[in-house]
Protein backbone atom coordinates (compact mmCIF):
# COMPACT_ATOMS: atom_id res chain seq x y z
CA UNK A 1 0.00 0.00 0.00
CA UNK A 2 1.44 3.35 -1.02
CA UNK A 3 1.48 6.08 1.67
CA UNK A 4 1.25 9.72 0.60
CA UNK A 5 1.36 12.79 2.83
CA UNK A 6 0.22 16.20 1.62
CA UNK A 7 0.90 19.28 3.74
CA UNK A 8 -1.97 21.75 3.58
CA UNK A 9 -2.52 25.30 4.75
CA UNK A 10 -4.02 26.10 8.14
CA UNK A 11 -7.30 27.31 6.70
CA UNK A 12 -8.13 23.80 5.44
CA UNK A 13 -9.35 20.93 7.68
CA UNK A 14 -6.95 18.09 8.40
CA UNK A 15 -8.14 14.85 6.93
CA UNK A 16 -7.00 11.27 6.50
CA UNK A 17 -8.30 9.73 3.28
CA UNK A 18 -7.92 6.04 2.56
CA UNK A 19 -8.23 5.00 -1.08
CA UNK A 20 -8.77 1.23 -1.39
CA UNK A 21 -10.36 -1.37 -3.68
CA UNK A 22 -12.43 -2.78 -0.81
CA UNK A 23 -12.88 -2.16 2.90
CA UNK A 24 -11.21 -5.34 4.21
CA UNK A 25 -9.86 -6.25 7.64
CA UNK A 26 -6.55 -4.54 7.06
CA UNK A 27 -8.21 -1.28 6.12
CA UNK A 28 -10.61 -1.56 9.05
CA UNK A 29 -7.69 -2.11 11.41
CA UNK A 30 -5.98 1.01 10.12
CA UNK A 31 -9.20 3.01 10.55
CA UNK A 32 -9.66 1.73 14.12
CA UNK A 33 -6.08 2.55 15.03
CA UNK A 34 -6.42 6.07 13.65
CA UNK A 35 -9.62 6.62 15.60
CA UNK A 36 -8.01 5.37 18.82
CA UNK A 37 -4.80 7.37 18.43
CA UNK A 38 -6.39 10.71 17.64
CA UNK A 39 -9.73 10.83 19.32
CA UNK A 40 -11.05 14.32 19.67
CA UNK A 41 -14.22 15.76 21.09
CA UNK A 42 -16.08 18.90 20.23
CA UNK A 43 -16.37 21.18 23.23
CA UNK A 44 -18.50 24.31 23.28
CA UNK A 45 -17.37 27.49 25.02
CA UNK A 46 -19.88 30.22 24.47
CA UNK A 47 -20.37 30.50 20.74
CA UNK A 48 -17.08 28.83 19.90
CA UNK A 49 -16.51 25.18 19.16
CA UNK A 50 -13.20 23.66 20.18
CA UNK A 51 -11.58 20.38 19.21
CA UNK A 52 -10.27 18.78 22.37
CA UNK A 53 -8.05 15.73 22.43
CA UNK A 54 -9.32 13.03 24.74
CA UNK A 55 -5.85 12.83 26.26
CA UNK A 56 -6.15 16.44 27.44
CA UNK A 57 -9.42 15.86 29.26
CA UNK A 58 -9.21 15.53 33.03
CA UNK A 59 -12.80 14.49 33.61
CA UNK A 60 -16.38 14.69 32.41
CA UNK A 61 -19.10 15.83 34.74
CA UNK A 62 -22.89 15.95 34.41
CA UNK A 63 -24.47 18.96 36.09
CA UNK A 64 -28.15 19.95 35.82
CA UNK A 65 -28.75 17.81 32.76
CA UNK A 66 -25.67 19.13 30.92
CA UNK A 67 -22.30 17.47 30.49
CA UNK A 68 -19.03 19.35 30.80
CA UNK A 69 -15.42 18.60 29.92
CA UNK A 70 -12.84 19.72 32.45
CA UNK A 71 -9.38 20.27 31.03
CA UNK A 72 -6.35 21.57 32.89
CA UNK A 73 -7.72 25.07 33.35
CA UNK A 74 -10.75 25.33 31.06
CA UNK A 75 -14.26 23.95 30.98
CA UNK A 76 -16.29 23.13 27.87
CA UNK A 77 -19.79 21.86 27.36
CA UNK A 78 -20.42 18.77 25.23
CA UNK A 79 -23.57 17.66 23.51
CA UNK A 80 -23.27 13.98 24.38
CA UNK A 81 -24.89 12.39 27.40
CA UNK A 82 -22.70 10.91 30.11
CA UNK A 83 -23.58 7.30 29.29
CA UNK A 84 -22.54 7.90 25.65
CA UNK A 85 -19.20 9.30 26.83
CA UNK A 86 -18.74 6.33 29.13
CA UNK A 87 -19.01 3.95 26.17
CA UNK A 88 -16.58 6.07 24.19
CA UNK A 89 -14.07 6.59 26.97
CA UNK A 90 -14.07 2.95 28.15
CA UNK A 91 -11.78 2.27 25.21
CA UNK A 92 -9.39 4.87 26.60
CA UNK A 93 -7.98 5.48 30.07
CA UNK A 94 -11.24 6.68 31.60
CA UNK A 95 -13.48 5.15 34.23
CA UNK A 96 -16.80 5.97 35.91
CA UNK A 97 -15.91 7.59 39.24
CA UNK A 98 -19.41 8.44 40.45
CA UNK A 99 -22.96 8.84 39.16
CA UNK A 100 -22.03 12.13 37.56
CA UNK A 101 -18.32 11.93 36.71
CA UNK A 102 -16.01 10.04 34.39
CA UNK A 103 -12.33 10.45 35.25
CA UNK A 104 -9.17 10.19 33.16
CA UNK A 105 -6.81 7.81 34.97
CA UNK A 106 -3.79 9.39 33.30
CA UNK A 107 -4.58 12.70 35.01
CA UNK A 108 -4.78 11.33 38.55
CA UNK A 109 -1.80 12.20 40.78
CA UNK A 110 -2.91 10.06 43.68
CA UNK A 111 -5.99 8.87 45.56
CA UNK A 112 -6.69 8.89 49.28
CA UNK A 113 -9.63 7.78 51.45
CA UNK A 114 -11.86 10.46 52.94
CA UNK A 115 -13.42 10.39 56.39
CA UNK A 116 -16.86 10.05 54.85
CA UNK A 117 -16.07 6.58 53.54
CA UNK A 118 -15.43 7.65 49.96
CA UNK A 119 -12.20 8.14 48.04
CA UNK A 120 -10.81 11.38 46.70
CA UNK A 121 -8.65 11.64 43.58
CA UNK A 122 -6.18 14.51 43.42
CA UNK A 123 -5.58 15.41 39.78
CA UNK A 124 -2.43 16.73 38.12
CA UNK A 125 -3.82 20.29 38.17
CA UNK A 126 -4.59 20.10 41.90
CA UNK A 127 -8.32 19.58 41.53
CA UNK A 128 -10.01 17.06 43.80
CA UNK A 129 -12.69 14.73 42.54
CA UNK A 130 -14.71 12.26 44.58
CA UNK A 131 -14.64 8.58 43.68
CA UNK A 132 -17.70 6.81 45.09
CA UNK A 133 -16.95 3.63 46.97
CA UNK A 134 -19.03 1.53 44.59
CA UNK A 135 -16.90 2.70 41.63
CA UNK A 136 -13.48 2.03 43.18
CA UNK A 137 -13.51 -1.52 41.70
CA UNK A 138 -13.79 0.12 38.25
CA UNK A 139 -10.52 1.96 38.85
CA UNK A 140 -8.86 -1.15 40.24
CA UNK A 141 -9.96 -3.14 37.17
CA UNK A 142 -8.57 -0.54 34.81
CA UNK A 143 -5.24 -0.62 36.67
CA UNK A 144 -5.17 -4.42 36.63
CA UNK A 145 -5.61 -4.85 40.40
Amino acid sequence: MKVSIVEISRDEDEEILIRCYEVNEEVQEIVNKLKMDNPVMLGYLGEHVHRIKLSEIYYFEAVDGKVFIYCKDRVFEVKQRLYELEELSNRMNFFRASKSTILNIAKISYVHPSLSGRFEAVLDNGERVVISRQYVPNLKNKLGL
Binding site: N93, S98, K99, S100, T101, I105, A106, I108, Y110, V111, H112, P113, S114, L115, S116, G117, R118, F119, V130, S132, Q134, V136, L139, K140, L143, G144, L145
Partner: protein, 144 residues
Protein backbone atom coordinates in the same frame (compact mmCIF):
# COMPACT_ATOMS: atom_id res chain seq x y z
CA UNK B 1 -26.50 3.11 43.85
CA UNK B 2 -29.65 2.09 41.94
CA UNK B 3 -32.83 1.87 44.04
CA UNK B 4 -33.32 -1.84 43.36
CA UNK B 5 -29.78 -2.57 44.58
CA UNK B 6 -30.41 -0.43 47.62
CA UNK B 7 -33.57 -2.36 48.48
CA UNK B 8 -31.67 -5.65 48.15
CA UNK B 9 -29.06 -4.25 50.51
CA UNK B 10 -31.81 -3.17 52.92
CA UNK B 11 -33.34 -6.67 53.00
CA UNK B 12 -29.90 -8.23 53.46
CA UNK B 13 -29.07 -5.82 56.29
CA UNK B 14 -32.40 -6.55 57.98
CA UNK B 15 -31.77 -10.31 57.90
CA UNK B 16 -28.20 -9.90 59.18
CA UNK B 17 -29.25 -7.57 62.02
CA UNK B 18 -32.18 -9.81 62.97
CA UNK B 19 -29.99 -12.91 62.94
CA UNK B 20 -27.22 -11.20 64.90
CA UNK B 21 -29.62 -10.00 67.61
CA UNK B 22 -31.26 -13.43 67.97
CA UNK B 23 -27.90 -15.20 68.17
CA UNK B 24 -26.48 -12.69 70.68
CA UNK B 25 -29.51 -12.81 72.95
CA UNK B 26 -29.62 -16.62 72.72
CA UNK B 27 -25.97 -16.90 73.78
CA UNK B 28 -26.34 -14.34 76.59
CA UNK B 29 -29.50 -15.95 77.91
CA UNK B 30 -27.87 -19.40 77.79
CA UNK B 31 -25.04 -18.02 79.89
CA UNK B 32 -26.97 -15.87 82.39
CA UNK B 33 -30.65 -16.78 82.27
CA UNK B 34 -31.16 -20.19 80.64
CA UNK B 35 -34.69 -20.47 82.00
CA UNK B 36 -36.03 -17.56 79.93
CA UNK B 37 -37.42 -18.49 76.53
CA UNK B 38 -38.34 -16.47 73.43
CA UNK B 39 -41.98 -15.55 73.23
CA UNK B 40 -43.71 -14.34 70.09
CA UNK B 41 -43.88 -10.75 71.34
CA UNK B 42 -40.09 -10.63 71.82
CA UNK B 43 -39.52 -11.94 68.30
CA UNK B 44 -41.81 -9.26 66.84
CA UNK B 45 -40.05 -6.55 68.86
CA UNK B 46 -36.66 -7.75 67.61
CA UNK B 47 -37.96 -7.91 64.03
CA UNK B 48 -39.28 -4.35 64.31
CA UNK B 49 -35.99 -3.05 65.62
CA UNK B 50 -33.99 -4.99 63.06
CA UNK B 51 -36.12 -3.35 60.39
CA UNK B 52 -35.61 0.06 62.00
CA UNK B 53 -31.88 -0.59 62.15
CA UNK B 54 -31.79 -1.51 58.47
CA UNK B 55 -33.98 1.46 57.51
CA UNK B 56 -31.63 3.99 59.04
CA UNK B 57 -29.35 2.94 56.18
CA UNK B 58 -31.61 5.21 54.12
CA UNK B 59 -29.78 8.10 55.73
CA UNK B 60 -26.67 7.08 53.79
CA UNK B 61 -28.54 6.57 50.48
CA UNK B 62 -27.53 9.33 48.08
CA UNK B 63 -28.88 8.85 44.55
CA UNK B 64 -27.23 12.14 43.60
CA UNK B 65 -23.66 13.01 44.60
CA UNK B 66 -23.28 15.05 47.76
CA UNK B 67 -20.47 17.10 49.21
CA UNK B 68 -17.99 15.85 51.81
CA UNK B 69 -19.54 18.09 54.46
CA UNK B 70 -23.06 16.77 53.77
CA UNK B 71 -21.77 13.21 53.95
CA UNK B 72 -20.18 13.81 57.34
CA UNK B 73 -23.42 15.31 58.63
CA UNK B 74 -25.27 12.22 57.43
CA UNK B 75 -22.79 9.99 59.24
CA UNK B 76 -23.41 11.95 62.45
CA UNK B 77 -27.18 11.64 61.99
CA UNK B 78 -26.80 7.91 61.24
CA UNK B 79 -24.83 7.43 64.44
CA UNK B 80 -27.42 9.29 66.54
CA UNK B 81 -30.27 7.31 64.97
CA UNK B 82 -28.41 4.04 65.63
CA UNK B 83 -27.79 4.98 69.28
CA UNK B 84 -31.47 5.85 69.73
CA UNK B 85 -32.72 2.59 68.23
CA UNK B 86 -30.29 0.36 70.12
CA UNK B 87 -30.86 2.05 73.47
CA UNK B 88 -34.63 1.93 72.98
CA UNK B 89 -34.43 -1.78 72.13
CA UNK B 90 -32.22 -2.42 75.15
CA UNK B 91 -34.70 -0.59 77.39
CA UNK B 92 -37.65 -2.60 76.09
CA UNK B 93 -35.72 -5.88 76.46
CA UNK B 94 -34.76 -4.92 80.02
CA UNK B 95 -31.01 -4.85 79.32
CA UNK B 96 -30.75 -1.27 80.60
CA UNK B 97 -32.78 -0.27 83.63
CA UNK B 98 -30.87 2.72 85.05
CA UNK B 99 -29.23 5.91 83.85
CA UNK B 100 -25.79 4.47 84.54
CA UNK B 101 -26.37 1.34 82.45
CA UNK B 102 -27.88 3.50 79.69
CA UNK B 103 -24.79 5.73 79.59
CA UNK B 104 -22.47 2.70 79.59
CA UNK B 105 -24.42 1.15 76.71
CA UNK B 106 -24.33 4.43 74.77
CA UNK B 107 -20.56 4.65 75.25
CA UNK B 108 -20.11 1.01 74.17
CA UNK B 109 -22.14 1.62 71.00
CA UNK B 110 -20.14 4.77 70.27
CA UNK B 111 -16.87 2.90 70.82
CA UNK B 112 -17.88 0.08 68.46
CA UNK B 113 -19.10 2.59 65.85
CA UNK B 114 -15.78 4.45 65.96
CA UNK B 115 -13.74 1.23 65.86
CA UNK B 116 -15.68 -0.01 62.83
CA UNK B 117 -15.07 3.29 61.03
CA UNK B 118 -11.37 3.28 61.92
CA UNK B 119 -10.96 -0.30 60.68
CA UNK B 120 -12.80 0.59 57.48
CA UNK B 121 -10.60 3.65 57.00
CA UNK B 122 -7.42 1.62 57.57
CA UNK B 123 -8.61 -0.85 54.95
CA UNK B 124 -9.28 2.03 52.57
CA UNK B 125 -5.77 3.38 53.17
CA UNK B 126 -4.34 0.05 52.06
CA UNK B 127 -6.57 0.09 48.97
CA UNK B 128 -5.45 3.65 48.16
CA UNK B 129 -1.81 2.65 48.61
CA UNK B 130 -2.09 -0.24 46.14
CA UNK B 131 -3.97 2.00 43.68
CA UNK B 132 -1.30 4.71 43.94
CA UNK B 133 1.49 2.19 43.31
CA UNK B 134 -0.29 0.96 40.20
CA UNK B 135 -1.00 4.55 39.11
CA UNK B 136 2.70 5.34 39.26
CA UNK B 137 3.67 2.45 36.99
CA UNK B 138 0.66 3.16 34.74
CA UNK B 139 1.78 6.76 34.19
CA UNK B 140 5.38 5.68 33.72
CA UNK B 141 4.27 3.28 30.94
CA UNK B 142 2.21 6.03 29.34
CA UNK B 143 5.11 8.45 29.17
CA UNK B 144 7.45 5.81 27.63
Amino acid sequence: MALSNFIKKLVRDFLVIFGAIIITITVLRQMYAPGIGFDLKSIYIIMAFALAGALIGLIMYTPQGISERSMRIRIAVHFCALETILITLASIMGIVDSLQSLVILALEIAFIYVVVHILSWENDKQTAKSINEKLESFKKNLSE
